[in-house]
């Protein structure tokens, strides 16, 4: 089920380059069919919701010359689809790295952040950063997540003493926290909000040991869509500057991620 924003007439028009011409271009947008709360997921009313989803909606309103048409598909399919040009862009809290830049077009302005942290058992004090993970075991990771790339990159830089991580086809967050709680693995690297939401339900004796990164997240464009990416940058910048996106961040992550990691750390109320 794809939904498109039909009434973009009332949206305030920003000082874009193009005059508010009659011609509206339809953009095909790939979104992840598998839920990734709180970025994008089907809510209880079976409607797509989440930080990324709301951001796209705002963008659609702002960019009058475009109309978004969404399609929810699997992660692999999104990427192949953008590459082949079937979709104009894909939105799924993508991280940025050189390999990906070679393949896809990234916009210049990030639209948000993923605050990633290490989750450990409550009674452990030996892990305070990724550096402390040397020789210890992270929970298995699915190859299609960006978090795994973080670890792989880290290990490339610290080849002599890498973090141990097993590969698995797919793993749920619930499973991973249980593994850590049972002591089978030392730590779980994940998005902070995700962990908080999971543990709100499972109530396992776990804690956030450290914030590892505040990883900017991006929209991925087909290589040919340079103009489009530029328009996105403009609009996104405007949305940040007028405080819309920071507010959105507060709503979904309970914190304004657009401040520095240090600020975020301070804002975050944790023991």
């Amino acid at each position: 089920g794809s939904s498109s924003n039909k009434d973009n007439g009332g949206a305030p028009s920003t000082g874009g380059g193009q005059p508010a011409a009659a011609k509206v271009t339809v953009l095909k947008v790939a979104r992840n069919a598998v839920p990734n709360p709180p970025f994008s997921y089907l809510n209880d009313k079976n409607v797509m919701d989440g930080y990324t989803v709301e951001y796209l909606k705002l963008l659609d309103e702002r960019l009058e010359e475009y109309k978004f048409e969404y399609e929810e598909i699997a992660r692999e399919a999104m990427l192949v689809g953008v590459e082949s040009g079937k979709y104009d862009f894909a939105a799924n809290f993508y991280y940025r790295n050189p390999e990906r830049e070679a393949k896809y077009l990234f916009s210049a302005v990030e639209y948000g952040y993923s605050l990633n942290s290490l989750i450990v058992k409550k009674d452990r004090d030996d892990i305070r950063s990724l550096d402390d993970m040397k020789g210890k075991k992270l929970t298995p990771m699915s190859p299609s997540t960006g978090l795994r790339t973080l670890v792989v990159d880290y290990n490339k830089k610290n080849a002599s003493n890498p973090i141990l991580v097993e590969d698995i086809d797919a793993v749920t967050d619930a499973e991973a926290v249980q593994w850590v709680a049972s002591g089978k693995y030392d730590a779980f690297l994940t998005n902070t909000t995700v962990f908080e939401n999971v543990n709100a339900q499972l109530k396992l004796p776990l804690k956030i040991a450290a914030y590892v990164t505040k990883e900017p997240i991006w929209v991925l464009f087909n290589k040919d869509k340079k103009d489009l990416a530029a328009r996105f940058d403009e609009a996104t910048k405007a949305l940040i500057d007028d405080g819309t996106l920071p507010a959105l961040s507060e709503k979904w992550f309970g914190v304004n991620m657009f401040k520095s990691l240090k600020d975020v750390n301070e804002q975050y109320k944790f023991k």
Binding site: A33, V34, P35, A74, A77, L202
Partner: protein, 230 residues
Amino acid sequence: MAEVIDAFWKLLPKLPLTLSFTGLALVGGTLLGFVLALIRIFQIPVLSQLIVVYISFMRCTPGIVQLFLIFYGLPKLLLQVGIHINSWSNFTFAVIAFGLHCGAVMSEVIRSAYLAIPKSQYEAASAVGMSYFQSLRRIIIPQMLRIATPVIGNNAISIFKESSLVFTVGVVDLMGQAQILTQRKYGITLIETYLAVSFIYWFFSMIFGRLLTFYQNRTERKYKIMARRA
């Protein structure tokens, strides 16, 4: 347990889609398989060799690759000759991909069943004056069905389950819905949801298997002691 039942009710609405998808792919695939099998049986030059390659490709490469080829490649290919199919629904693309795959598999099922029928049966039909297709329809196929029903069951059930691959292109089927349900809750209800989804798959596979067994037993009476004597 309550969660299993809850998941069950949330999954159920996706059943018609999964069933119709399976049905379409299976019927299309069987028809295609039949044609392919005949061409191979008659060893029609060139075509026959092409089909061997086709079957090999369709059987040996991963389903997801085939799905991507149809989903992304086919529209581009057809565009070259001026046909626009980009507007077709993902469901349609998935049915095409699965139908093509199913055709390759079914053609082998059909060919093997054909090989199992003694040639004398075909000869008897010819001697009565039936054309080839008449003898197929009235004499050969009924006997092939008797032999092949268990294998057809195998394939139908396989397609039924493999159809979960369509979620890759965003068609939310039973398995896709199960994934959505579990992921939404960060996987907390994974086992429960999978139990529910398994039950549905198992139940329909079982019903289908029963139907085939019923059909089989009914026809089996004729052959019960098949040429026990002559």
